[in-house]
Amino acid sequence: MRAGTGKILVLLFLVGIFLIGVAAAQEGVDESCYHCHSEQVSEFEKSVHFNNNISCTDCHGGDMKISGNVVSLDVMTKNFTGSPSKENLTTFCSKCHQKVTADYEKSIHWEKIQEGRTESASCTDCHGIHNILSSMNQDSPTYRENVPLMCSDCHENETKMQAWYYGIQTDRFDTYKKLYHYKAYLSGGRVLASCSDCHESHDVKPEDDPESSINPANLPATCGKTGCHPGAQNAYVYGGKVHEGKSVYFFSIDVKTLVTYFYILMILFELIFTFGLIFLGMSSNFRILRRKNHD
């Protein structure tokens, strides 16, 4: 009996080893990361990088060759890079995307990261990390029509905005919503101009930077982009801000407020006048009826 039990145990052990061996043989090289980083890998498999045969090591570096057991501590010594800090992130992306990284490194976002404001937006804040999609993909946060939502994620957030930069306004999406550019989209048309169309996507710069796309000197060129407003080159795109909802001053008079007050009064007057006269007219009809009955 004892000897029999021992044989069975040895047999089970051998079968177990065999099964692990089969499982290991079925694993592709790329899937080896999956054993521990299952979440990241399954996100990555939906991404545009995966579809273009980019592998984990293209960003994270290291050596994927497996020696010995699948679950090997050996990977720790193979020189993989974990998640990079914000300051180092661009070195990841610039391996392939040299031009856009160079553009990004001119932006106010990058400038602030360099100053130590790590809340500022970096590549992954807009594009996502492992699940990066093409900007042509409707599910991508960088898809043209999703861009306002993506930007407002930070730019509408008061704590985020005020934490590191005084004077940055959080009503940019709200004021944008009132413009034809966005209303056309809400009404079922195309997005005519999204945030990045005017502010640039990678090379975002503040208004007072002479190289900024929204610097008053550059606005005619920005508005006059192909497919937008071809006649803009000779126009005066100043004397009012695109996002400024409330006031437009001429000779230190706030004309917008003045016009609004005027029309609020006009419409209230119109409503009272119209319905008042309808009511008075109706009641005078009763008066005529009553008089007729008297006669």
Partner: protein, 272 residues
């Protein structure tokens, strides 16, 4: 007794009116949904004209046609025809207005006697003229903003946008509630905008001074007697009035909704 008819609108004026109100309705129908894209009716209305690009096309070319008919109106009635003096406001209108208010408030038993144009009709006429001028000018600025910006700064375009919305609401309130009630609901069925004629009874009721003026030269054989009987109303007329009333009420609700939205937005932004 011969049934007299009085000419109120010439064929020229009737065609102008038809073009003006058709474009007006199209402009309101394709304009307000863009202003309030979040409302359910906005999506429905834009879908009903076949999408956003059609909406824009209809709005632009209706606007152009309305500008055309407005310019034609001014040129025709000022230059090609002898201009009418009696459409202008005068002191009598103020007196009529005060007298009518006194009558409405039971302070007097005397209803004012109106001539060819009542004070309210003059208000509507010049209000319409002012509205067409404002909407036409600001509309063209909005259609060609960068051409406008060769002449004016961006602020002017933004003020034009502001005017366009407000004036649209004001004009639509005046037309869809005031004008519809006075001229079409109150006088239902009023076909004078097609035939150009109004009945003797209406003439005597609404424009007694003009009636007296017109009848002075006429040799009237029969004494005009006050006819007690009401206009015969057939079943079709009753049904038509019912349909008109339902549409009219729906438009009133819609207009009040829009007024509420613009007023709340303005008060939230500018006053609170």
């Amino acid at each position: 007794m011969i049934e007299l008819k009085f000419k109120r609108f010439t064929l020229n004026q009737r065609i102008q009116h038809i073009i003006f109100f058709t474009t007006f309705i199209l402009l309101a129908y394709t304009g307000f949904p863009l202003k309030f894209p979040d409302e359910w009716w906005a999506k429905w209305m834009i879908a009903s004209v076949g999408g956003f690009d059609n909406r824009t096309l209809i709005h632009h070319y209706s606007g152009l046609l309305m500008i055309g008919v407005s310019v034609y109106h001014v040129i025709f009635h000022l230059l090609l025809e002898k201009p009418r003096i009696d459409v202008l406001f005068n002191l009598q209108d103020l007196k009529d207005f005060i007298q009518q208010m006194r009558y409405y408030l039971w302070l007097s038993d005397e209803h004012p006697k109106f001539g060819r144009y009542t004070w309210k009709q003059k208000f509507e006429y010049f209000g319409g003229g002012f509205g067409a001028a404002v909407m036409g000018t600001t509309g063209l600025i909005m259609w060609f903003p960068f051409d406008a910006m060769k002449l004016f700064p961006l602020g002017v375009v933004q003020i034009a946008i502001l005017f366009h919305t407000w004036e649209a609401v004001l004009a639509s309130l005046a037309i869809f509630i005031g004008h519809f009630y006075d001229e079409h609901f109150g006088k239902f069925p009023n076909f004078s905008w097609i035939t150009g004629n109004i009945s003797e009874e209406e003439m005597r009721h609404e424009h007694p001074l003009e009636y007296e003026e017109a009848m002075k030269d006429q040799e009237i054989k029969e004494e005009v007697t006050e006819t007690g009987h009401r206009k015969e109303t057939g079943l079709i007329t009753v049904f038509a009035k019912l349909v008109f009333t339902v549409i009219f009420l729906a438009i009133i609700v819609w207009m009040l909704w829009i007024s509420y939205l613009v007023l709340v937005e303005a008060i939230n932004t500018y006053i609170l």
